[in-house]
Symmetry: C2
Subunit: 663 residues, 2 copies
């Protein structure tokens, strides 16, 4: 019978590496997997614009048209640029790879820091805002926002650990459902408005408290700030260009097509929602008192107001809208669960991150990266108490750092291609056009970055501005460490393995029992130049008992007894071993430790603690090697019979060991 | 230069085991170490009595005389009983040992569960109430009670990890200071009252809201409940009998004398404080509204009221009283820091607790027990939000469970002595007297236990009533596990070490560098019957590079290359090793893994992750042994030179290995 294994139940059976090909994504699954973040952000981007403009009073709300138009334009430019990247870099890597190739390692690491921070923020912000949507619908859950958010992150983690294709299927429904319900809402609105209905949001008659005090430059700045806030609509656009290798062949073309599909959906939904918000006269404010309401009055999101106004008596459609919105927001975090581990594995491959981030786990996903992302996001959610308003301040800085670097890198890329004599003349026109697109993008995203930095710095963004350089320095440090180690372990071509002159073996024993006999037998199989057994005894009584056991079992290995009146084990043995190792610098010393192997994790602390502490110290002793001889206890043997041949009964007990070593 | 080691700075240099004798305690240090808990509890015991009686109105307050008298009597009985225990059981162990010898293992484990819970509660309650005293004096710290409490527990942990004698010195001052200030207060009061002054507490004229509705049996029950609450004065009395081995010789007599000294101090301070509380007419209530005050009005503790009234204009003496009270309360937790690790080590010796709790650490204290206690107490403080009122409900159940069992065990002990024909007639009178004392104590403590259980169950004590059986079952389980393992590894007298017929060695390599060459050289020194090197390669390019390196360094060990297109390392190697192990069931297989040893903990995650995962799997493979060949990187070498003789340059590179094994 197979033992119960919670990991298998959670993440499924291990997949064969040969099945990696099968997990490549068709476009219809790649879209929900990579695009739930940019698609879902239309649920709050319009609201973010209106929230800022409301500070300037009703008179300035019309600026939303310009801000939205600028965002649509920026979205198109950025998507167009990343489409070029998909073709230029079929191996994937997005901003990091583009920066590395065109702007050098420091720009690449800056982009990587920004992206890593941004992925963590995506998980935290998306999940928290999804949970906020749920708790708005079911107010009784309002006290458990942290718990719910952490629960959703855990759920996403398990889903992603199961493997990329299965998660794609799970995510397809809510993402496509969200798009569908939004379009149904547009159709409803179009029909009702075309037939002469006048639709107003529930907040249309609420006063926006502040009368505009903004004039001249201040108006321009407010509009820019509104534009910057609305740029949350752009988050996650780069995920596809990072994930090109996960697409089915032809990878680049499929990725570019998916990006274009996402652009069409994103632009149309964002534009439609903004138009309806303006037509319905949706008024929003951070604080209900600014709308003349009592403090603490629950207010609906802009999208919920639009939905309620559009669907009117068709309540179930409104609730469906809220449900798919909440669903897609929580799942938007999945974009990061795909992007982060892939970027981390690229960084690990380039030695900027610990090597194990490059390893695929049992289910052919980058398990370590997934877990790392989940832990960081959970930490952020707990520290910020699942407060969306505070979290969102940290959000888009990383996005625009990577956008700017990526697009600047693309400008340089096209420049290099134009400079290359190998580039055919027929291509030059296309390249000039691409470079223009990227240049516009680079300028626009860098302007947005500056605006975001200025407007959000004091609202918590300083945390990101500290975190990014720390990551940068950390990754540099990891690379330096790996480089140093590589230099240190490098050997000249003439280097040969050197067999030590002598091999001394010490077997640690506590009493004579099966694990001891197995270890002693194994030690003899090593055919050492000297072999002793060492034990620690607290008093004469114990010494006498050990000697008696030694004689009873006729052990032909000399026994050295170390006296330790208070049963301290590590110190005396360490001292003895160091002394032995010092006696023969040309030889090596192996310390054989019988280790109990138990079958249950909770049995582990009951055994081997001294062995573990001793090992940790012995590893640092030059010239000493530690050999664990495992003894599998019943619970570790998985139903198999006892290790019956671990010792001989009767006679000299020498089953072998007369063979000559090959050394 | 010695590297900076934070552990050494915190806990001091390791002590030689020979110095354990030096750390034995003289009485003047044993008193503050073992008695800060029972001595400090007089600071709140009187108040607990008055709090309960206040429920019955002013008319019942006079019952405090009877309750206090009963507690004084109980205190004397319990102390007298434990003095007998100190003589009867010079090896220490208190309730656990006494129960084990006289009432059997189940009673002993029940006592142990009670004591363990009680020690944790002592730390939590004492520290929290000490912090409450501080925050009453400095209200601005009132928001940080959890942080302060955890900080004090951490401070006590570090102090105790430094070793028992040094902590005794640190603790002597506040404990003796507390006793001194209380006696100075008594002298002040005696002089003022004798010279005709009328002293009244600030609360003397505050009405106790409720008029007595208690009559007949209800009055008796209320008095019993008041008595039970006042029994907090008894907590910690057993610590000395547990700690007899820590005393200087003659251990038993010194311990009994110290216990008597503590009894005199405890009884006189408790009685004096109660007398003054009654004379000054101190009124207290859980809720200020019961005293006719506005909700939230800060009220002083009974002791603070007595101090303020006694010292009058001598403000600095009042503040000194508050300071030493806070100090001794925090330090009372130290009683548990001595008792818990010692009890845990006795339980570990009897195989009821993990073996490492029996080990003394660097500084000759039971480090693991100290850390375990601190973690449990911190957990309790955090979960209960440092709320004293809720914590104190869990407190004295454990105390009275262990008192009852201990004294019942002593009754049985004397019974056995009386039944023994070896007991001289001259002793029988003394034994009869002792048995009578213990019998009275057993009856009284069991009555108190029942009252406490009834009155506190619904106030949170159910948690303790769940925790104790869980501990009991857990300790039983640990014992069963150790017994099973002992049975499993036992061997017949005829058992001899059996040397395996053949020894096969596999060296894992990733590339040819210094650690690989060292591992290969070491593997040859094992003189195995077969030796191969195994590596994993993702593609043909990698295979070619490895083969080239193999030739360049003229490695005369056959190289087996496993193909793993996605660089999955663990699976392919595990499969290969299991296949090899299956080919020769009579032989053993060693897997040699070159391991990078780094000098900084933060470098650890950058290396050996695959090796660690592989080792964890290989340990469960029967017939396979893992050999780590450590390669010390520069940072681990502590300034020493490189391991220059790890490989030979030029020639066959065979520095030895021709010697014949002794096996």
């Amino acid at each position: 019978m197979r033992p119960f294994n919670p990991k298998r139940v959670l993440v499924g059976e291990p997949l064969d590496t040969a099945r990696l090909g099968e997990t490549l994504l068709p476009k219809r699954l790649a879209l929900p997997i990579f695009c739930s973040d940019p698609l879902s952000s239309v649920a709050y981007a319009t609201e973010e614009i209106l929230l800022i403009l409301a500070l300037g009073g009703v008179a300035l709300l019309h600026l939303a048209w310009y801000a939205a138009a600028a965002i649509v334009f920026l979205l198109i430019v950025v998507i167009a640029s990343y489409r070029q990247t998909c073709h230029a870099y079929p191996g994937g890597g997005g901003a990091y790879v583009v920066s590395a190739e065109n702007l050098g390692p420091n720009a690449a690491l800056t982009a990587a820091s920004a992206l890593l921070v941004d992925y963590v923020m995506t998980v935290a912000v998306s999940v928290v805002s999804g949970v906020a949507a749920i708790t708005s619908a079911i107010p009784s859950l309002g006290d458990h926002e942290v718990l719910l958010s952490v629960g959703f992150v855990a759920l996403l983690t398990v889903m992603n650990l199961r493997g990329v294709r299965e998660s794609g299927r799970i995510f397809a429904l809510p993402t496509y459902g969200f798009v569908l319900v939004i379009y149904v809402m547009f159709a409803f609105a179009a029909v009702r408005l075309a037939t002469g209905a006048t639709i107003r949001a529930e907040s249309a008659d609420l006063p926006i408290q502040e009368v505009s005090e903004y004039t001249g430059l201040a108006v321009v700045l407010l509009a820019l700030r509104a534009f910057a806030s609305g740029c949350t609509a752009l988050t996650g656009v780069e995920a596809i260009s990072n994930g090109v290798p996960a697409f089915r062949k032809p990878k680049s073309r499929n990725a570019a097509t998916t990006l274009a599909m996402m652009g069409v959906l994103s632009v149309s939904m964002f534009a439609g929602i903004t138009v309806l918000a303006m037509v319905y006269r949706v008024h929003v404010a951070e604080d209900p008192t600014e709308l003349g309401l009592a403090p603490g009055t629950p207010t609906s999101t802009a999208l919920a107001q639009i939905g309620r106004a559009t669907f009117g008596d068709w309540h179930f459609l409104f609730y469906l809208l809220q449900a798919v919105t909440a669903g897609v927001l929580v799942l938007a975090a999945n974009t990061a669960f795909n992007g982060f581990p892939m970027l981390a594995s690229i960084l690990a491959r380039d030695k900027y991150a610990p090597r194990q981030l490059a390893n695929r786990g049992d289910r052919l996903v980058y398990s370590n990266g997934i877990v790392l992302l989940a832990l960081a996001a959970i930490g952020l959610i707990v520290v910020f108490d699942a407060n969306l308003t505070r979290l969102i301040q940290l959000y888009i800085i990383g996005v625009f750092v990577s956008f700017t670097l990526s697009q600047a890198g693309m400008v340089r890329h096209w420049g290099k291609e134009l400079a290359s004599p190998a580039t055919p003349v027929t291509e030059r026109k296309r390249i000039h056009r691409s470079r223009a697109i990227n240049a516009v993008g680079a300028v626009m995203t860098s302007v947005v970055l500056v605006i975001v930095l200025i407007t959000k710095f004091t609202h918590g963004a300083w945390l990101v501005i500290i975190a990014m350089p720390l990551l940068f320095v950390g990754m540099k440090g990891v690379r330096r460490h790996y480089d140093e180690v590589a230099r240190e372990v490098a050997v000249p071509a003439a280097a040969r393995p050197r067999t030590p002159a002598r091999h001394h073996v010490v077997v640690l024993v506590a009493a004579v029992h099966a694990p001891t006999l197995k270890a002693l037998g194994f030690a003899k199989a090593l055919r050492p130049d000297s072999l002793t057994a060492v034990t620690v005894a607290a008093d004469e009584e114990e010494v006498a008992r050990l000697r008696a056991q030694w004689e009873e079992h006729a052990v032909d290995v000399p026994l050295k007894i170390l006296h330790s009146p208070y049963r301290e084990v590590v110190g005396p043995i360490l001292g003895h071993v160091q002394e032995l190792a010092g006696q023969d610098p040309a030889g090596v010393l192996s310390v054989v430790i019988p280790e109990y192997i138990v079958g249950h994790w909770w049995e582990q602390p009951l055994h081997n603690q001294n062995a573990l502490r001793l090992k940790a110290r012995l590893l640092f002793t030059p010239g000493v090697t530690v050999i664990d001889v495992p003894y599998l206890l019943e619970s570790a043997r998985d139903g198999a019979g006892p290790e019956g041949d671990l010792y001989a009964t009767g006679g000299a007990g020498e089953g072998g060991g007369t063979g000559r070593g090959r050394g």
